[in-house]
Amino acid sequence: MGWHKKILRVNLTNGSCQAEPLNMEWAAEYLGQRGLATKYLLEEIDPKIDPLSPDNKLIFATGPLTGTAASTSARYSVITKGPLTGAIACSNSGGYFGAELKFAGWDMIIFEGKAAAPVYLYVNDDEVELLPAADLWGKSVWETDEILHKRHQDPLLRVSAIGVSGEQGVLYACIVNDLHRAAGRSGVGTVMGSKNLKAIAVRGGKGVRVKDPARFMKAVGEKKQILAENAVTGQGLPTYGTQVLMNVINEVGALPTHNARDVQFNGASDISGEAMHQPRGKENKPNLVTNQACFGCTIACGRISRIDKGHYTVTNRPGYWGASGGLEYEAAWALGAATGVNDLDALTFANFICNEQGYDPITFGSTLGAAMELYEMGVITDADTGGVALKFGSAEALTKMAEQVGKGEEFGKILGLGSKRMCEKYGHPELSMTVKGQEFPAYDPRGIQGMGLTYATSNRGACHLRSYTVASEILGIPEKTDPLATEGKAGLVKAFQDATAAVDSTGLCLFTTFAWSLDDFQPQVDAACDGDWSLERLSEVGERIWNMERQFNLAAGFTGKDDTLPKRLRKDAAKTGPALGKVNGLKEMLPEYYQLRGWDEGGVPTAETLQRLGL
């Protein structure tokens, strides 16, 4: 159990909604969520297809522990071929939607084809319907959420939707559920928009059962205790959210600033987790209203924030006066340090817009940082931007551009391409801070060497959530390694990648891994799911998933040459801080990594590796 063993297949072209049994042979090899949905995608589409064509599929997948009493059981993932990268896309979200989908009796929804006109999917247990969404098209995520609650007269409905940016083809649109929780990266929302699918509204009354309830509850209780007693998951995250990192990462000289020209930002403390607690502005109240949990989560890292009513962004705009999802670390970095803006309320406003119109703040902030550098060079001019001076540090430029990207109009159209396409268009591809077309996030690989290998080899393009070696290199979890050294990082990255792939397939949140290792997941998975789930088996599932994703990308046309970093990180040394004079030593780490992976020199898994993993 754990799984319902049932998936919903929705063909948007002909409007059919069919239940079918979950492939339990695959579930035994790929567990659920990230792993299992990627297996379905790889089996069902040609990785070479155009991601925005009807041939692409879009999978909403829960894990076997989603919707159970295990802490952080909120998670679901969206798996598809990503339009920003052309690689496998797999974006994970919390909130309440994923658990609700599970309560309705579904492990997964597979969308295929393309609707002739806008539709949304309504799911109430076994009652499943595609309904017209012409009136929702052009509406924001927030408006869509409100309209659907009213239309179905059901306050308990959980909604996942795209905003206007996803309709308009902004290449990094997200899918946002519960108003401010997002399957954020690689443009999964753009794929949803390309299918004319506006939203999914779910209500579940069936619940979730596990294999051995008594053993499960015992394991769950013990593991919750570990989270409560850990300094990061028990104190740091609830108090400051992931924003606990802003000052820490700036101090170690690994905060990519001004489009990664610098590794430290002198405005970091102004936009930090600590600053969110300080009274400020006309109202003299803190930015942070409260912390908030996702479904089942005993950590509660989420930020609920308010913009000061005296701030220029919300003058005469009461729609933005209420509390909503506040800054987490990656967003604060992208909207702030990457662009040089230190105005906390401006960042919060831009973050609200990202949620309201559904797009990824990481890619947006990084792309805006690149545009600001091009503007400084005189390559992008006022004629391009409609007169908005794209100067580093300009809060007005940030918030204006956030609104333009949200609507996919004016210069927002160009920014909506992401930095790779934008920089190529202006003849400066070297200024794009991307790997495989996706912007890297808030850790500079010159100051944290392992993150260079992490970004270069991440299957969904640059990303911190594929192997968060920051835990070891900076925080000392599970043990401290030297952030400036390259030795040993190949093994570290591989270990983190494999464990993370397994965790992302359970239905639980990766943030538990500040306190838990795979052996803390194991007894929970084993008590919930059919079959025997040993630690060895879980680790192997992780390694299998990693190699399968690699196979998808190789079949899509990527090669080992794409496992690289922007030249700036490899050639331009850090100018300040502990990493002064350092570049990233990717070439010292990559060959060893390939070797440890059992891949050949070109980064292709050997026949022996594939056989060992049953691929």
Binding site: G205, V208, R209, V210, Q292, T298, S324
Partner: protein
């Protein structure tokens, strides 16, 4: 000692562990739609408020019930539904001013909080102590103590 549930909304994070614990305890399944406790989110204010039956001394539901299906557990003081007597007429759901007794279409009976026979699962599951099960006569103790702590006895001493 007679105990009662004491709820502090300001501590609640909206995790719904309490709803899951309630449905698991009562129905053996993780299913918030079958929970006797509900957590309400007031999004624009960033507030979460857990709400359930307060076990009135002179209970409206009990007074309204035509079949005397709602009894009192002498040990806990909980008003408990006797499923054998309940005919599902729903009169109690109309009588209760707080809405905390509800019809369950799956069984054709009403469901409400019964304090789990004296060991409420929601309070055990709550990670923030937004729900605690304490001395029924002293539910205000912690709040009193917090205010007491703020009392400035330094200046009184000097005066």
């Amino acid at each position: 000692m007679m105990r009662s549930l004491s709820i502090s909304p300001d501590k609640c994070t909206g995790c719904l562990q309490c709803e899951m614990a309630c449905s698991y305890e009562n129905e053996g399944v993780f299913n918030p739609s079958r929970s006797r406790i509900k957590v309400f989110s007031f999004e624009r204010e960033g507030r979460h408020v857990p709400y359930t039956c307060t076990q009135c001394s002179d209970a409206w539901c009990r007074n309204a019930c035509p079949t005397e299906a709602i009894g009192i557990n002498a040990a806990t003081g909980a008003k408990e539904v006797n499923e054998g007597l309940c005919v599902g007429c729903k009169v109690c759901t109309i009588a209760c001013p707080f809405g905390t007794i509800n019809y369950n279409h799956a069984t054709g009976k009403v469901i409400k909080c019964d304090l789990c026979g004296g060991d409420p699962a929601c309070a055990k599951a709550c990670p923030t102590q937004a729900i605690v099960y304490v001395d029924a006569d002293w539910t205000g103790y912690d709040r009193m103590r917090n205010w007491a702590e703020r009392t400035d006895n330094q200046s009184t001493a000097q005066a």
